[in-house]
Amino acid sequence: MNFNSFKYCLRQSFVSLRRNFWLAVATSCIIAVSLAILGGFLLLAVNARQLMGDIGTNVEICVFLYDNAEIEALEAEIGALEGVDNVRFVSKHEGLADFARSLGDESLLAGLEGDNNPLPNAFRVRASHTEAVPALAATIRTLPGVELVEYGAELISRLVKITGWLNSLFAGISALLAIGAVFLVITTIRLSVLARQEEIGIMKYLGASDWFIRFPFLLEGMAMGWQGTLAAVAALLAGYGRLADYLNRDTLAFFIRPVTAGEQLLPIYIGLVLLGTLLGGIGSVISIRKFLRV
């Protein structure tokens, strides 16, 4: 294909989009809807994962120490372990104060301050993700100066199981939705190509090569896919933004902290746009394939 042909194809795609305006709009809308559903679901998945993660990392590992433990060295060592989010030192003194506060009556513990304090020094360790907790606990237990390590083993193991299960569920549903979107888009584009089946035949008779015929359709499809997904992403951005705002403000929903970090959301949005554009193009090329055999 030489440069003249390329220019021609480019111009032709725009002309064709304009002349088939409503068909193009309808196609874009269907692409928009199917990708918005997929995108909405992906956002749900990201949030569900974050929620599980939050619950998991809120589970602290309590590390009780012998009195002779070298606190600073130990703190540094634990802090450097893989999967540790943060380490907080709780001295016997603070521990007692916490305990007293939780009892609500500080006089009950009178006389236990200072050397009489029966509580050990401790670290409270938070893991960066739930799955790391059991291994982390086991490692910390072997460190010198550590007397005892405690964490909600039962809860963690259940969380890990649920998270794994949810991950596969979400992956499965996303895959199904993506496949559904692909078929919907291809079917829609096929309709628009069907209307022009006769033209494609005539073009072949006039000696047009397959790529010469295909190219405007490819560009057209990509343009429709691109527009459709932009609309979908705009809707998701607006809708999800509002929802996130609402949840962040509403005290009743305090336990749900929606994902708002750009580095998590941006790949979803960009991925959707790429997917939609690609789908539009591939859908077009697949749809006209059988009409090219003249």
């Binding site: 030489n2 073009m203 008779y205 000696g207």
Partner: protein
């Protein structure tokens, strides 16, 4: 340039052959009329040459090459060098008159400049100046036919195949078109026209191939539409 050797065409589903055992030769630069009653295979012969249809038996050679054996690329090249006027026009409905004619050049990868120069010229020649922006649906049958002719002429083909190019035209316009075909023939293009326009055929005194029931019944260097005995 063109050689038919014992060519037979039987359409799938029909028992009667549309063409049977056809052998003929056409040289470069000839001007040939294909005549005969309706349904005798004139369109079929043209479609075989254009390779819209494949022969059931026999061989067709174009420049010495068996056209049944062209691969995909050679087939494109084959069709690109032929100007074809279809009996049913086959215009691109989504394109304007100008774009329809321009398409023949775009397929060949010609420049926008050349296209903008040549297309109006050809449209003028076939009497369609001023209709550039119309869509086929907005044209009369005769006008659509002339768009088809313009599309075939614009690329200066080495072979012009025209299937009843004057079928929808009045006498005056028919003659103008025939003059166009004569001009292009003079510049070296081989012209093959299937037609029922007996007065045109009789006046022009060109080679006539007469078909009847799929068989070649007459081949005259300077022929007329009908056999002299039939006229009586």
């Amino acid at each position: 340039m063109i050689k038919f050797r014992n060519v037979t065409k039987i359409y799938p589903g029909s028992k009667q052959p549309a063409l049977s055992d056809l052998t003929l030769e056409i040289d470069q630069g000839e001007f040939v009329f294909l005549v005969g009653p309706s349904g005798t295979g004139k369109s079929t012969l043209i479609k075989l040459l254009f390779r819209e249809q494949l022969a059931t038996g026999g061989q067709i050679f174009f420049h010495g090459r068996d056209i049944a054996r062209l691969d995909k690329r050679q087939l494109l090249k084959h069709r690109r060098q032929i100007g074809m006027v279809f009996q049913d026009f086959r215009l691109l409905k989504q394109k304007t008159v100008f774009e329809n004619v321009a398409f023949a050049l775009e397929v060949l990868g010609r420049s926008t400049r050349e296209i903008n120069f040549k297309v109006p010229q050809v449209l003028e020649m076939v009497g369609l100046a001023g209709k550039e922006k119309s869509f086929p649906a907005e044209l009369s049958g005769g006008e659509q036919q002339r768009v088809g002719v313009a599309r075939a002429l614009v690329k200066d083909p080495i072979l012009l195949l025209a299937d009843e190019p004057t079928g929808n035209l009045d006498r005056e316009t028919s003659w103008q078109l025939m003059e166009l075909f004569t001009d292009i023939n003079r510049s070296g293009t081989t012209v093959i026209i299937a037609t029922h326009a007996w007065d045109v055929v009789d006046r022009m005194q060109k080679r006539v191939l007469a078909l009847e029931n799929g068989r070649l019944v007459r081949d005259e260097k300077r022929g007329s539409y009908a056999n002299e005995f039939q006229l009586i």
